[in-house]
Chain length 355, copies 3
């Protein structure tokens, strides 16, 4: 992908749901402008570039044959390393190889490493809440944006928009924009946290499964990790808890309700095309099936609102000669995160530099 | 907009119908490649460039708050001069300003001046027949062309096409192409006039509300004004009237029927995208509701015929390496008008030169 | 058309079916990026470039008037040589001329010569089986590909894809890919032939109208001619016929059934847009109406399978920085044919060089 913004290559990107992988048939996906055919060789996930070296047919239209993938145009066959092992009609296969990518299935998502293969470290896969998490009742969904991933990342790094874009869905009120949250640096991202004290109406409203209990303190935190992974926790605590913990992270066991989590992944497919994956729901301890459903519906409604705004923003940017912005106090984490992204590939390919 | 043809900047363009302006919500429109958010500050019309200087979200998705407009992405607030007066989450607003455009609501249309603001003169707004005109029963409509405005202007400057494109709708017969009309120069445009004498079938046929009265003289005239405004009058007169007035403009009070007017506006939105606004109908004195309806339907049918031809012409031009044309006798007003357009911005920014 | 591949200009291209030509109304078609208006001047077919020299309106929207074609925008009239003979509203027509192309109606198809007009030789029109052929019961069809013609030509020059793309339609089995066919050079193309011996299931299955008769020998041959014309014959012979004829072309009168032919034409319209025309069916001697229908349906199903693969291949190529391929044994005719195409225009414009 061209453009002035460059995404981190040395990072794990979400390519899709593990449950979307089917036996016999590759899954097509594009990340950072590269087309992929992701397939199951028995129980192993394999990620190929989606082009047969013979005459450039897509391998995602191919057929899995045990631990091999066959191009279904003229029948070239490849092993899991991408090496051509058979061509119909000739004795010896030619020296042909498909490009492969490191891939991991974890927490319900398929993660692909788009950078230097030697640097792919499965320990760098972010810990997220997958749909099968034993502690949480999670629903999930996805949607595509006709916008570049950077704009969605920036949306997630500045929740002041909740007061405006989501005024009638999340109903977070003016708190999200009038006061600044706390931000901390993480090794590969940033951590947001915000207390809202003495509130009688929590954000998310009826999706929070809270009995009416007078004023409470509400805590919201999320990590936003490279390349664009959000892992969120929110819970409601007795009035005074924020003060007791010095407005820092509370002991989560003290929550009295409204506890839920969400994992979200922003995957740049092409220059102005992004796929957004998310899971959300309450804790199994406090939740109910109906609450899970309400939270997924709220997420879908809110993301649809974001999509309208962000795709319109993309059109303005595409038409503008001058795309300079005027940063505000809420924009600091955007500047920090983007600088972190720009530095990452240099650091990753030179581990000494990271110390 | 790029391209070899340049439109007049120092001119009033129609952005839409006054009746499309609603309280609380801006109207989006694009003129000459510039996106606009046009909104009501109490009773005043305000035209902003449709981009928030914060992060380039469109202000047409914003919310009017009295005499201010708020961007609904992160809440920046602007006064009617485009000056940022509030940013949620910080004490002082930054020095941020939205570009504004002179704007006037008149004759049912919203007019925006796209050139040098200091030169905007409301006296230059063309006098047209608006939907609320007390003397005329006007209906209205609009349609978009996937073609550049210049091609539509040229269509309106050469009515010889009526004999061919509109042979089965307007049924103007060969008169429109076989004889040349009379053209006069106006300060900011050209005036067309044509007498058709001793006719038994007037153009527009059954939409003209004429009792069968033997041969008559028909008079048709219109001004075509920069940047692309057409103001038309047509009426039927007793046989001999053309001769009596030396084939010049008649005393309109002598018309015996078939009197109607039309106003039309051609607004270049983007390079190959144009919006066409029109009103049309009979005089209240002679008209009837049914006649108004018939005339609007005829206009819609005829403009749909133009649209097929002009969009096809645009495709030929886009594909052609060589776009030179071969002018005919009917093309003279096109040459005159285009030269007038090319000269206009120089004259306007140097009023001395116009004397 | 740009791009690295260049199509033969000095060749007859199929523009459409003769039956699509209608009196009074031109037919629009594009070949090699040039738009054409093809029309009937009495019984003669005439091919014009589809642009009026006046103001570049398309002549395919025009009206045939006897042996003249009138542009229906402003009425310019042209004779069959493309010379302007009338302009409404002026005495003398201007010196204006439409570009014309040599054109021939033969075997049910309209053929247009896109190269040097002086070199157009009707003897070079390929002999194909048209829908009115007295010996064959032919059905026909057409479809458009969002892909360049070269990819479809290459598909037709390597039938090893039948084993994979058409595994469930034509059911040709592994024979098409496992063994190489025989190829011969022709003056303007290549000839494919293949015997399949001792087969109990012929390709095309139930569309071949064969009583169950034990193992047979099946013969398939086609010429693939510049610019992209395929003329195919297939028949079933008694077991042993292949051996008897030394695996060369048999005496066709010895066929015991399953005899059918097909003509196919690949016409490059624009850079990534191709029209595919085909006729197919059994011999009148052995055929039946139901068999003709089955064969056309099978062709439509198979071409739809090709279309999915080839359009996907085109997308891979468009996105790829590096479009080099890895040729296999089956690809030799592709290399030969493409070299023949590249040499053709040089030879044609210098007939001496061809000796």
């Amino acid at each position: 992908m061209s453009g002035t913004y460059s995404y981190a290559r040395n990072a794990w990107y979400v390519a899709g749901w593990v449950s979307d992988l089917t036996v016999g048939k590759p899954m097509a996906m594009s990340i950072l402008g590269i087309d992929l055919a992701i397939w199951l060789a028995d129980d192993d996930v394999v990620a190929f570039e989606d082009r047969c070296p013979h005459r450039l047919a897509p391998l995602s239209l191919g057929r899995c044959e045990g631990r091999s993938l066959r191009c279904m145009y003229h029948g070239m066959l490849f092993d899991t390393d991408g090496v051509c092992v058979e061509v119909p009609g000739q004795e010896q296969p030619p020296r042909a190889k498909v490009r492969t990518f490191p891939v991991v299935a974890r927490s319900g998502w398929v993660w692909v490493w788009m950078g230097e293969p030697a640097l792919a470290d499965a320990a760098l896969v972010p810990e997220v809440f997958g749909p099968d998490d034993p502690d949480w009742m999670l629903g999930s969904g996805q949607l595509d944006y006709a916008a570049e991933a950077r704009l969605i990342n920036e949306n997630l790094l500045d929740l002041s928009h909740v007061s405006f874009v989501h005024q009638s869905s999340i109903k977070g009120g003016p708190a999200f924009s009038e006061a600044l949250p706390k931000w901390e640096k993480l090794p590969r991202g940033l951590r947001y946290s915000r207390w809202m004290t003495n509130v009688t109406q929590v954000s998310g409203g009826e999706t929070r499964n809270l009995a009416d209990a007078g004023p409470v303190d509400e805590f919201l935190t999320y990590d936003f990790l490279i390349p664009g992974i959000l892992v969120m926790y929110t819970g409601v605590f007795p009035q005074g808890t924020a003060l007791e913990f010095g407005h820092r992270a509370p002991d989560r066991s003290r929550a009295i309700g409204g506890v839920s989590v969400s994992s979200q992944a922003v995957t740049p497919m092409r220059e102005r095309s992004t796929r957004y994956f998310f899971s959300a729901g309450p804790s199994r301890a406090q939740g109910a099936e109906a609450i899970r459903q309400l939270q997924v519906e709220l997420a879908q409604k809110a993301f649809a609102e974001d999509k309208v705004m962000i795709e319109a923003q993309q059109r303005v940017i595409d038409r503008a000669g001058d795309t300079r912005v005027i940063p505000t106090a809420h924009d600091k984490p955007i500047t920090l995160f983007n600088a972190m992204v720009q530095r990452l590939d240099g650091i990753a390919s030179n581990p000494e530099a990271a110390r």
